[in-house]
Symmetry: C2
Subunit: 428 residues, 2 copies
């Protein structure tokens, strides 16, 4: 009896590949509405920028590869219109019905442009699929736009702005909220703004765009209004969580037995708050897909949750966050204390650049709740140490004791993380 | 009543500075046998290499700075000959006696060249102080040696070899044991050897050097036989541990009340084995100095231990370790399982280079015991994640769940650390 996977990008293909490993004989079918499967969607901004030269470079494996090497059947251009769980059937848009025994929904998220008047014009883009990116490349080379507006200052918006600026366009980012990169943190947003402005990109927060009319731009990228694609699931009677994504347990199973959800369409647990969240990221898609696929194939695996770790490169500077900002922590009912330190990432005599570390802890429990790292070097490594500490609910006192690597070409004797922890302990 | 600190480099000056913060009125005196205090000893190889141009760049603060800004008295050229704890007095080599209330011993370690015949010749060097490095620089520029032998393949030996090779010398490293960088790990040593050989440095293990006669070298660096400087302590009745370093509790206090030890002369607890170890590193010197200084000034702080985290750059490649290797784990009574994976540090389309991750876990408890990372990029960040996991005795299953940062300019969607953890879980 077959496993059917709806969606063939990060989560879907991770699920299919993992299910194959667990059960070499399982019949596995992936239904993908687009033309491609298994591509690195996080590379799209760099395809637009040109650093990635060809779409093919982003395609990890072709459908043919999966068929031949993994015995996984893939149908592209196959849009699933309905799920009839009582009959264990999915129905394609063509009307065709396909039986399943286990089902993995990896339907992703999309950018909801419906609310914006004029979003259907040819100079308006989203950046969600390889086709989107290719269409932007063509537009850039053929129309030579000079002025771009990017709607949304999430990571895709900021990366798109960076890419377009490198094509020589004047770029303005319009963000509805007061903060960039989804981080309720004024200092962090200021740092993002400074870096953007240094490189000629304007960031305007608190701007709601309902219509593209009157926008001074001959190219528009809509990178806002992300919503998990849950209509299919909701109509099938699958429970949707408070976040708007599909509710799952730690085995990535939905309320319907044998139906799993993974990737951007699924809720996951936040390891700091313990609450369900919907944070669309490629890493989480891969991990939850893997767990869903394993369980769908008969194994018992679990996904313990996310820290909300994210890094974005803006003109060569890494902006990384994990866990909660001070404002987010307060909103979650903690009594947050935050510090922000600037220190050299490596010794001055080695040309080390400045890095900023923010740490947030709870005054009552002394637990670390989150952090941010900004820097040209080592930002990923440092945020990963913070993320690792969040996974184990580490206290500030213990964080301060971490035995981190030091040698002049790589770090300073007192790593900026430890300096921040010392500061934070004083404030607690 | 004064705090006297014996030794004014990393541990000693950390202790003095921290004591000052705890107690603004405490009388603090640092006795340093050399000419300089507070210098970055870890930068010495780069001073020899020339990347650090002047000794002054390695001097963090001058004695004058400490007197003026911190109200800490410093006497350089002040060698302590004896400690009379019953009278709370230290005696200088000059015969002068100085009273103390609390004492911090930060006497460091030295390279014991006594066993090697011919070590007192002018072309033979150790690399321990600024004076050592300056003498080497002068020798290099005036004598233009062509053939160097480095005794010892610990981190100082390897860094010295790198520095001398960049001066154009033919360099051979002679190591008594079978492994490099103090890591009982054949694959790791092979990787070190390959990197050295690629850059024209020969590594010969299992070679015991008792005499420099017959060594085909017009310059010799002895970077072996490191011993904690404990004679002063031992003669004062301070207990020396099994490792040869001064025994301390987690407050860095010795068996004599009010006498603390910190830095290379002091034992610390290994967080994986729970046993006392002597691992001379600048980071640990700073941390234990800080704790000793705080407690000597009346605070109550503790040092929880080291993971043995270390990183060394060899011709641009980072070699990093933390915790135990498989062989070390077996020797400590664990039932180790180890995996070694090679994966891209960043996506191929971003020019990511290969990185090697080794993870070791205990088959019975499924605890992570150690790891190693080798790579041109991200080695420090990745070993720090491993170190953080070791601090909390993390299980492989939990390590595999870490929410690490991903974005194409910084990492791959599946970080090499997570790929290694997946592999390791299969093997357990």
């Amino acid at each position: 009896m077959p496993l059917v996977v709806v969606g063939g990008v990060a989560a879907g293909m991770s699920a299919a590949a993992r299910a194959r490993r667990i059960d070499p004989h399982l019949e596995i079918l992936v239904l993908e509405k687009g033309e491609h499967v298994s591509y690195g969607a996080c590379g799209l901004p760099y395809l637009v920028e040109g650093r990635v030269r060809e779409s093919e470079q982003l395609i990890v494996h072709t459908p043919e590869y999966f068929r031949r090497e993994r015995n996984i059947s893939i149908r592209t251009g196959a849009r699933v219109a309905a799920v009839w769980h009582a009959r264990r059937e999915v129905q394609l848009a063509s009307g065709e019905r396909i039986r399943y025994d286990r089902l993995v929904l990896a339907t992703g998220a999309s950018c909801d442009t419906c609310g914006i008047a004029g979003a259907d014009q040819p100079h308006v883009f989203t950046m969600h699929t390889l086709e989107d990116a290719e269409r932007m490349r063509t537009f850039l080379s053929q129309r030579r736009p000079r002025r771009a507006a990017v709607i949304g200052a999430g990571y895709i918006g900021v990366e798109a702005a960076d890419a377009l600026r490198r094509h020589g366009l004047r770029v303005t980012i319009l963000e509805r909220s007061e903060h960039a990169l989804g981080r309720a943190d004024a200092a962090f947003t200021d740092a993002v703004r400074r870096q953007l402005e240094t490189h000629g990109v304007e960031l305007r927060c608190g701007v709601r765009v309902d219509s593209l009319d009157g926008l001074d731009a001959d190219m528009v990228v809509i990178a806002a209004g992300f919503r998990p694609n849950v209509d299919l699931a909701a109509e099938a009677g699958i429970e949707i969580g408070r976040t708007g994504a599909i509710r799952t347990d730690e085995r990535m199973e939905t309320n319907l037995r044998g139906v799993y959800a993974a990737g951007d369409c699924a809720e996951v647990r936040h390891i700091v708050t313990g609450r369900a969240v919907s944070i669309p990221l490629g890493t989480t898609a891969n991990k939850t897909g893997r767990v869903a696929g394993a369980n769908a194939a008969g194994a018992r695996e679990r996904f313990t949750g996310v820290a909300g770790t994210m890094i974005v490169g803006i003109f060569g500077m890494g902006f990384a966050v994990s866990g909660l900002s001070e404002a987010q922590a307060r909103a979650e009912g903690f009594a947050p204390v935050a510090v922000r330190v600037e220190a050299k990432a490596r010794p001055s005599y080695f040309g080390g650049t400045r890095t900023t570390v923010e740490l947030v802890a709870d005054r009552n429990s002394r637990r670390l709740l989150g952090g941010a790292v900004i820097g040209e070097e080592g930002a990923a490594g440092r945020i990963n140490v913070i993320a690792s500490a969040l996974h184990v609910q580490m206290h500030v006192e213990d964080f301060e004791q971490l035995d981190l690597a030091y040698s002049p070409p790589f770090a300073t004797a007192w790593d900026p993380l430890l300096i921040a922890a010392q500061q934070l302990r004083k404030e607690l």
